[in-house]
């Protein structure tokens, strides 16, 4: 009787051992880590949705006096990988595509001939540091009007002279402080800061202020971004 029970136990243990490869399988395919990551990724869609609701298209980012501005020698560069973008400043143009009436190549002179906005606004890096440079450039909304962009379109995607790319919601692009920036501290942008033209968007985190932009696409399909595709929040409003 006792030995029989023992045998049964032994047998079931053997059966259990046969199932052990399943344990490995769960280890690979259904790891808690993967589950948590996909949950957090989904939750990020919720935080992005809240960000979109909180964004007030009429709310201006604080503008600071020249006294409060970061001095030019403190104009920090956050190079992440590229110090040498594939940019020919002399022959640079901005290529415009997508839902626009007048697609094509636009020169710096054409864009800079539109009204200029100069502003000392805070540039907040996702890392936590911030600076207040003096930016100068063409409000993107004015340029979008010039190229006949469909204001009903949902997104704008930009590509840069390095590997960088990112995208935006249309309301943020129509914000009066969103610039096609070509000047800092009243001088043409330096190469390390995105010459000849970058985006400046004081309503979003720094990684949305793309440097060395070369292409702008107006679209209804939600594009990603270099950092956004790796886990950073897409809306990135501040």
């Amino acid at each position: 009787m006792k030995s029989q029970r023992h045998l049964k136990l032994f047998y079931s243990r053997r059966k259990l051992l046969k199932l052990s490869p399943l344990l490995l399988l769960t280890g690979c395919d259904y790891s808690a880590r993967g589950g948590v990551e996909s949950f957090l990724g989904k939750f990020q869609q919720f935080t992005d949705w809240v960000q979109e609701k909180v964004f007030d298209p009429d709310k201006l980012a604080p503008e600071y006096s020249d006294k409060e501005m970061t001095p030019e020698n403190g104009f920090r560069v956050n190079g992440y990988s590229t110090d040498r973008p594939d940019i020919d400043i002399e022959h640079w143009t901005l290529r415009v595509e997508g839902l626009v009436e007048k697609p094509g190549e636009y020169t710096l002179q054409q864009i800079a001939s539109l009204p200029k906005r100069v502003m000392n606004t805070r540039h907040c890096c996702v890392e936590g540091w911030s600076i207040i440079p003096k930016w100068g450039g063409t409000p993107l909304k004015d340029f979008l009007k010039t190229v006949g962009a469909n204001p009903q379109a949902k997104y704008i995607y930009v590509e840069c002279g390095d590997e960088y790319f990112t995208s935006y919601d249309m309301p943020s692009c129509l914000h009066p402080q969103t610039l096609l920036c070509y000047e800092a501290y009243n001088k043409p942008l330096s190469l390390e800061h995105g010459a000849p033209m970058r985006i400046v968007m004081p309503t979003k985190l720094g990684y949305k202020s793309a440097k060395w932009i070369t292409k702008l696409v107006v679209t209804n399909e939600k594009p990603g971004g270099y950092w956004e595709d790796q886990g950073y929040d897409w809306f990135a409003g501040i």
Partner: protein, 212 residues
């Protein structure tokens, strides 16, 4: 034989919010420390093993999940304490409790031997359980100031601007962590039954049920 009385100590909502808060607070502190490391305010960084999220993007995802959990859960706790008889009687500091705060400090410092006869929470505890949510509110508001310095620029300037708000956010966090450590210490010296009561609701007291 020693007699025990079972006393119902913690209503369900209190127990639930207590443990959800434990998890949410753990998430926001550890992921927040990883975010701090991306651009340290002072001359130190936090050891990696104490942080959550792996890298900045991961830590931010954890932090933003944790903060919504923390706020929603905290809101539930606050509303319960304000609107239930239980909360008003046991948790929220009232004017009558103020006189009892100082004697309780003396008791804990072992200057007074007599423990005041109080309800479930003594005046010092009530002071702590009323102050801590206010500090947490400071943490939330300073968090809003650095999460949305443009959309809520008024809150950011209330904290002295974006950079100073980061410092405040760190200070509020540090204060809450200190409270947490003190809380753990008090729980450790208060015995097992006290700890169990935060899970089951019931606490064993060694007083006989009805004195003969």
């Amino acid at each position: 034989m020693k007699q025990y009385k079972q006393e119902y100590h913690h209503p369900f909502i209190i127990r639930l919010t207590h443990w959800v808060n434990f998890i949410a607070f753990g998430i926001i502190v550890t992921s927040g420390l990883r975010i701090y490391n991306a651009s340290p305010i002072w001359d130190f960084t936090i050891p990696r093993d104490l942080t959550l999220g792996g890298w900045l993007a991961g830590a931010r995802q954890w932090h933003f999940f944790g903060m919504y959990l923390f706020v929603a859960n905290g809101l539930m706790w606050v509303l319960y304490n304000i609107f239930s008889r239980h909360g008003r009687r046991t948790t929220i500091l009232s004017r009558n409790d103020l006189d009892g705060v100082f004697p309780m400090i003396l008791y804990y410092l072992r200057i007074h031997k007599e423990h005041q006869l109080t309800r479930k929470y003594n005046p010092l505890q009530k002071l702590a359980y009323t102050t801590v949510p206010i500090i947490a509110l400071g943490g939330i508001l300073s968090g809003i100031a650095i999460y949305w310095p443009v959309q809520f620029s008024g809150i950011a300037s209330f904290f002295g601007g974006y950079d100073t708000a980061r410092v405040w956010h760190f200070i509020f966090m540090g204060t809450l962590v200190l409270f947490f450590l003190g809380h753990i210490f008090m729980v450790a010296i208060s015995g097992w039954s006290n700890f169990v009561s935060m899970i089951t609701g019931w606490k064993k007291t060694s007083t006989p049920p009805n004195p003969p």
